[in-house]
């Protein structure tokens, strides 16, 4: 019998636990190397009220088993997303999750309101790793109070389930996790990228125009698994694990540690078939271990 890969993220049903991470799969229509409809879901590039050009190049640099990026949240804006992108992907069996970001609480609310009621969207994911322009650049995700405020405001503006994407750049990720759970978040996703930097030793300039960028890829996987496990001990809402996932085994590590689903980011760049391969790897694993459903693994870590 074919093992059952379907999972539930609160009220969101996913045909399988493998999603494309925000900013690493465009708006779901760019990749033609495999059938994207096989995926559990696609998280869109972060959407803002207005279109954004993003940061000047160079925007990426390779590091040991990772990369830094400062794309700068380039996006078409929520309006163009609804008009031009959503019609092309809204009918998919893969759940479409709209990633939202802003520099003020109002930005988040504006995007949520524009998306409200649109067909083909399964949930919103709030990227709270953005500097809050009203608070001198302090990230929403670094402050439990600010993070909760964003979540409350968005929850009032939308009927979609709200997933809050946590920043790893905090002393204790559990505090923010608890705060956003209490504020009404329906699920959590973690982790976003970790700020990093690289230097050109010949020109003595940063290798990124923006000086620092977000670290992603296999390098951060152990940090992400640790945070998923820590957070899973203190919240009761579902968790989506993100960070360096490139193989079925990586995905299994996150699921066992407490995630109900996973997102694949950077691996899509260097190994475009990563997600379909993870799917078949998960099936094989369940089959060989005689486990009927992927749900039998979630949060089963024995310590």
């Amino acid at each position: 019998m074919k093992p059952d890969l379907s999972v539930q993220i609160g009220s969101i049903h996913l045909q399988n636990p493998v999603l494309a991470a925000s900013g690493t799969f465009g708006y779901g229509e760019e990749v033609d190397l495999f059938d994207v409809n096989l995926l559990g879901g696609i998280v869109t590039k972060g959407l803002s009220p207005k279109p954004r050009m993003g940061n000047p190049p160079p925007r990426i640099v390779e590091t040991g088993a990772g990369m830094l990026n400062t794309i700068g949240l380039e996006n078409v804006g929520v309006e163009a997303f609804v008009r031009e992108k959503l019609p092309r992907i809204g009918h998919l069996k893969a759940a479409i999750i709209a990633n939202v970001f802003g520099g003020t609480v109002e930005d988040y609310v504006t995007v949520a309101q524009r998306l409200e009621g649109e067909k083909g969207i399964a949930a919103l994911e709030l990227n709270i790793s953005c500097p809050n322009v009203h608070q001198g650049g302090m990230e929403f995700g670094n402050d439990p109070g600010l993070a909760a405020e964003v979540v409350r405001a968005v929850k009032r503006a939308t009927r979609f389930p709200v997933i809050v994407k946590l920043s790893p750049n905090v002393t204790d990720v559990r505090l923010v996790a608890k705060a956003v759970e209490d504020a009404g978040a329906d699920a959590l996703s973690l982790i976003n990228t970790i700020p990093g930097m690289a230097v050109d030793v010949y020109t003595r300039r940063p290798l990124l125009k923006n000086i620092t960028g977000g670290l992603s890829g296999p390098a951060i996987k152990p940090i992400a698994i640790r945070m998923v496990w820590q957070v899973s001990k203190v919240v009761s809402i579902p968790i989506i694990g993100i960070g360096g996932i490139a193989t079925a085994r990586d995905a299994l590590e996150f699921l066992i540690a407490g995630a109900s689903a996973v997102q694949v980011g950077t691996a899509n760049f260097y190994e475009p078939l990563t997600m379909p391969r993870i799917l078949s790897g998960l099936e094989e694993f369940l089959h060989s271990q005689e486990i009927p459903s992927i749900r039998n693994l979630i949060g089963t870590l024995q310590v």
Binding site: G23, T24, F25, G26, E30, V31, L33, K45, M53, G54, P56, P57, P58, R59, I60, V61, E62, T63, G64, A65, G66, M67, N69, I71, E74, G217, P218, A219, A246, T266, N268, F269, Y270, E271, P272, L273
Partner: protein, 276 residues
């Protein structure tokens, strides 16, 4: 498409320059001039990202006598081992497997008409001009196609014997005069362009940024159409990471365009050359 193929050869063409090839059956996607492939250089996750390589030559035994037997065909790349990624690549050997995605990117636009086609190359930029030269001589008289190759020194002048059978004109310049004329390839272009009417000439260039910037400015001065092949860091090669943005002027407005998807070939007037 994406696949892993056994390397046919990976040989030094000149000190630090290599040619690498793998089988590329006829029924695989057609490759246009200027297109590139993304190849993995390591099996583990360091180096993590694929490297972009412009297609040099593609074809069967007619192009590659070393292919054993008719019906076989291959794609070949010409690269310089400069950093870690290409350094790893240079260590691969015949029979090792190479994982690739391609062909990617846009192609040179072939003009409807034109009596003079100047292909201006520096270093490995040469690689993106071979397929172009072949496409051009299919539709234009072979004598209208002129390849201008420049380099610092003799050892930077690569692979001319590959181009000679095409019958096109070839000019070589080196800065130190160890091969061809002493001087810069851009000077050769400049004097050639002086003798031709603007609307009959086309320039195509690939190589170091300062060279291409100069080629662009010479062409602009003479109002001659010029296409350039850009390079830069790439995360994916197929439009999903947004890491490869380059600054472009469209109708005077500064915009970001994806090197991997809207490029690597751009009209030279659109390109923002920075402080170069």
């Amino acid at each position: 498409m994406q696949q892993s193929s056994k390397i046919l050869w990976n040989t030094e063409a000149s000190p630090n320059y290599y040619k690498i090839a793998f089988p590329y059956p006829e029924n695989y996607p057609a490759i246009g001039s200027g297109q590139f492939f993304m190849v993995r250089v390591a099996e583990g996750s360091d180096p993590l990202l694929r490297r972009a390589l412009a297609v040099y030559r593609v074809g069967g035994v007619d192009v590659f006598p070393e292919l054993k037997g008719p019906g076989l065909s291959a794609v070949e790349f010409l690269y310089r081992a400069v950093g870690r990624g290409t350094g790893f690549l240079a260590k691969k050997r015949e029979g090792d497997s190479l994982d690739w995605v391609g062909p990617l990117g846009n192609s040179y636009t072939l003009p409807k008409e034109g009596a003079h086609h100047y292909l201006v190359a520096g270093g490995t930029g040469l690689s993106s001009l071979y397929v172009l030269a072949k496409e051009l001589i299919k539709i234009f008289p072979v004598s209208s196609v002129h390849l201008m190759v420049g380099g610092r020194s003799q050892k930077d002048i690569l692979c001319l014997p590959d181009f000679e059978p095409l019958g096109i004109q070839i000019s070589v310049t080196t800065e130190d005069g160890t091969k061809g004329a002493r001087g810069r390839v851009t000077d050769v272009l400049e004097s050639a362009l002086r003798t031709v009417p603007s609307d009959s000439a086309h320039v195509y260039t690939a190589g170091p940024i300062p060279m291409m910037a100069k080629v662009a400015s010479i062409s602009k001065e003479r109002k001659i159409a010029c296409q350039v092949s850009l390079e830069g860091p790439m995360g994916c090669g197929f439009g999903i990471c947004l890491g490869c943005s380059v600054e472009i002027f469209e109708k005077g407005e500064r915009k970001y365009r994806l090197l991997c998807k809207h490029g690597p070939i751009f009209n030279s007037e659109e390109v923002y050359w920075g402080e170069a």
